[in-house]
């Protein structure tokens, strides 16, 4: 295995994460609203804050410096492992991030696991019973899951299972018990793509020459499927699962909001509202780093599954 291309990719990804954090910072900087004023207003109430107090507070936070200077300070500190302190909570950004990551990561893992089991399971079943009743139901289910927006499903589930039936907590966070409902919502809305990819992957592979070779050697359907087809089908599935894991860690803002979960997305949303620069920069950068790590893991998985990737043949296909 060649390590160099992976290292190169890793470096590019880290630079991308940095660039994204810079871009976020830039957009935020030009957007209206003074963070010092916003924060003070929030702290004191809407009584109106004196101008000089705002200015003193801004100086204290280092907001009086220039655009690039502020970013440079943040960058240098970041290189020393210091992501700064959140204006709003007063905690180190890293501490805030880690305290919220658990919830988001658990949710992402749970929902991706549900997607994986549902998607691959139904995809295989529907391909093997092509045009049968299970296949038709599955195709209908995947069309529905593609077209129903997840926030709508979330509200529906919240209403049925939490409010009417009272099986799950509505607002107070109770650990894993609070994650089941959002996990199911995200898992169900995310599995449509996986069903399709798995189903078409199985069907395509079943007409490949190597399947004929395998059958001609006296293997039964189960041996052909488990020993030969499955590994070939897993390639696109790995890609989809990693990208859904990534999307679920950072992109579950709406779901976290609906279910009032203390996750990364929800925190970031609040930080954006109050222009909490250190928190936003830190969160965006750290989430970028998680994406970098996960894509690298996916690349390594690819290498383990498909020898053609090792030779760089994959692009040709």
């Amino acid at each position: 295995m060649k390590a160099l291309p992976i290292l190169k990719k890793l470096l590019v990804s880290v630079l991308t994460a940095l660039f994204v954090s810079f871009l976020t910072y830039g957009l935020l900087y030009i957007s209206p609203g003074d963070p010092a004023e916003l924060l003070l207003t929030e702290k004191m109430g809407s009584m109106g804050v004196q101008k000089e107090v705002v200015q003193r507070y801004a100086e204290q936070l280092g907001l009086n410096k220039g655009f690039l200077e502020m970013y440079r300070d943040w960058f240098v500190n970041m290189l020393h492992g210091d992501l700064g302190t959140s204006y709003k909570t007063g905690n180190p950004v890293l501490t805030d991030f880690l305290s919220r990551l658990g919830c988001s990561a658990q949710l992402a893992l749970l929902s991706t696991a549900i997607s994986l089991v549902l998607g691959v399971g139904l995809g295989i079943l529907s391909a093997r019973r092509r045009n049968g009743i299970i296949d038709r139901l599955t195709r209908f289910f995947s069309a529905v899951s593609l077209s129903v927006p997840s926030f709508w499903l979330a509200i529906l589930f919240l209403w049925i299972f939490a409010m009417k039936l009272g099986w799950f907590p509505i607002a107070d966070y109770q650990g894993i018990r609070s994650l089941i409902l959002p996990g199911v919502v995200m898992g169900v809305s995310g599995c449509a793509g996986l069903i399709r990819v798995t189903r078409s992957g199985v069907l395509d592979n079943l007409s490949e020459g190597y399947v004929v070779t395998a059958r001609a050697r006296g293997l039964n359907d189960r041996q052909v499927f488990l020993g030969h087809v499955l590994k070939n089908v897993m390639l696109p599935v790995v890609t989809m699962v990693t990208s859904s894991l990534i999307a679920h860690i950072g992109g579950s803002v709406i779901i976290e909001n609906i279910f009032s979960l203390p996750g990364v997305g929800n925190f970031l949303l609040r930080a954006l509202r109050s222009k909490d620069f250190p928190a936003i920069l830190g969160f965006v950068f750290l989430m970028g780093m998680i994406v970098v790590v996960l894509t690298t893991v996916a690349d390594l998985l690819y290498l383990a599954i498909d020898p053609r990737v090792r030779e760089g043949m994959y692009e040709k296909k």
Binding site: G209, Y210, G218, L219, N232, P307, M313
Partner: protein
């Protein structure tokens, strides 16, 4: 004559958007023990379908009829379990296009050891020894290394030999090889002939070799059956067919070989969906008359061991 494989009125058809494709129509022939029969014909004449029909490898929904007797048992009416016991162990099949016929994500060793386990009942060290022996017998220089390679790391000729090695695992008494020289150059063709000959020595088997390569067929086969548009039009001992072709199609094929002046046969084979009523070759035949187009000719004996489907030999 005692026969190992006997095809008795075998037909295969499958549905397509434009209609029923009659890929194989009423084929009869036999293979005696120790005999190598070549099934030749141009691309699309149904010869590969016939090969897969014998082992019932075609996808579900394909209509097959007739009897295929192997060692006296009808493969057509066997249960799925019984036919699986024949595949690989009694009749080995070498698929066409070795690049697609090997699983791209499994090492050659994995696929070979699997064949030995399924077809030969060998496991562990014993299987490994046997695998290395088979690879060495097919003139792989470093069998150990080949075991650890993926199909894409091998050349076309090596893949063909790897596929041959997998078919050898069950030491079958019968081999079906589909287009083993397709897409290979003259040098590799020599290697394939050599490896198939080793196969025959190793297993002592008889075989059916499906090919469009007349030169290769002449080198490998005792008997030839010539297919045109789904049916056999001439069969007999290979040497006699080459020296004295009877059917106009065979004469035309021989004339199209490079050493015979490359006189290309014009036109193309008739559709397998809308068959003409009369002789299927009539449209391309220099001797065809009204009678040829009106009535479909039957196979008739012409001399010892030879049959031809042409009205001119009535």
């Amino acid at each position: 004559m005692e026969e190992l494989l006997k095809l008795d009125h075998v037909s295969t058809a499958f549905r397509s958007r434009s209609g029923l494709v009659k890929a194989v129509c009423d084929v009869n022939f036999t293979v005696a023990p120790g005999q190598i029969v070549g099934l030749v014909g141009e691309t699309g004449c149904g010869k590969s379908v016939l090969g897969q029909t014998i082992l019932r490898l075609l996808p579900p929904g394909v209509e097959q009829s007739g009897r295929i007797l192997f060692q006296g048992k009808d493969l057509m009416t066997m249960s799925e379990e019984e036919i699986r016991a024949v595949r690989g162990k009694k009749i080995a099949y070498i698929n066409q296009n070795p690049t697609e016929a090997l699983n791209p994500v499994l090492k050659i060793g994995t696929q070979l050891l699997e064949s030995l386990r399924v077809c030969g009942g060998l496991r562990g060290g014993e299987a490994r020894r046997q695998a290395l022996e088979i690879l060495a017998s097919l003139s792989f220089d470093d069998p150990e290394e080949i075991m650890n390679k993926y199909p894409m790391e091998l050349s076309g000729g090596m893949k063909q030999r790897a596929l041959t090695a997998m078919a050898m695992c069950g030491k079958p008494p019968f081999l079906i090889a589909d287009e083993p020289t397709k897409g290979l150059d003259a040098l590799i063709r020599g290697q394939v002939i050599e490896s198939l000959e080793k196969f025959v020595d190793f297993t002592g088997c008889s075989g059916l070799i499906i090919t469009h390569d007349l030169k290769f067929a002449r080198a490998m086969c005792d008997t030839l059956a010539l297919m045109y548009a789904g049916e056999i039009v001439e069969c007999g001992p290979a040497k006699k067919l080459f020296s004295m072709p009877k059917h106009p199609y065979l004469s035309a094929l021989l004339a199209s070989m490079p050493q015979n002046g490359m006189h290309v046969l014009k036109g193309s084979s008739c559709s397998l969906i809308d068959m003409p009523e009369g002789c299927r070759f009539a449209d391309r035949c220099p001797y065809a008359d009204g009678e040829c187009r009106a009535r479909h000719p039957e196979m008739r004996s012409v001399g010892e061991d030879r049959m031809v489907r042409c009205r001119r030999y009535d």
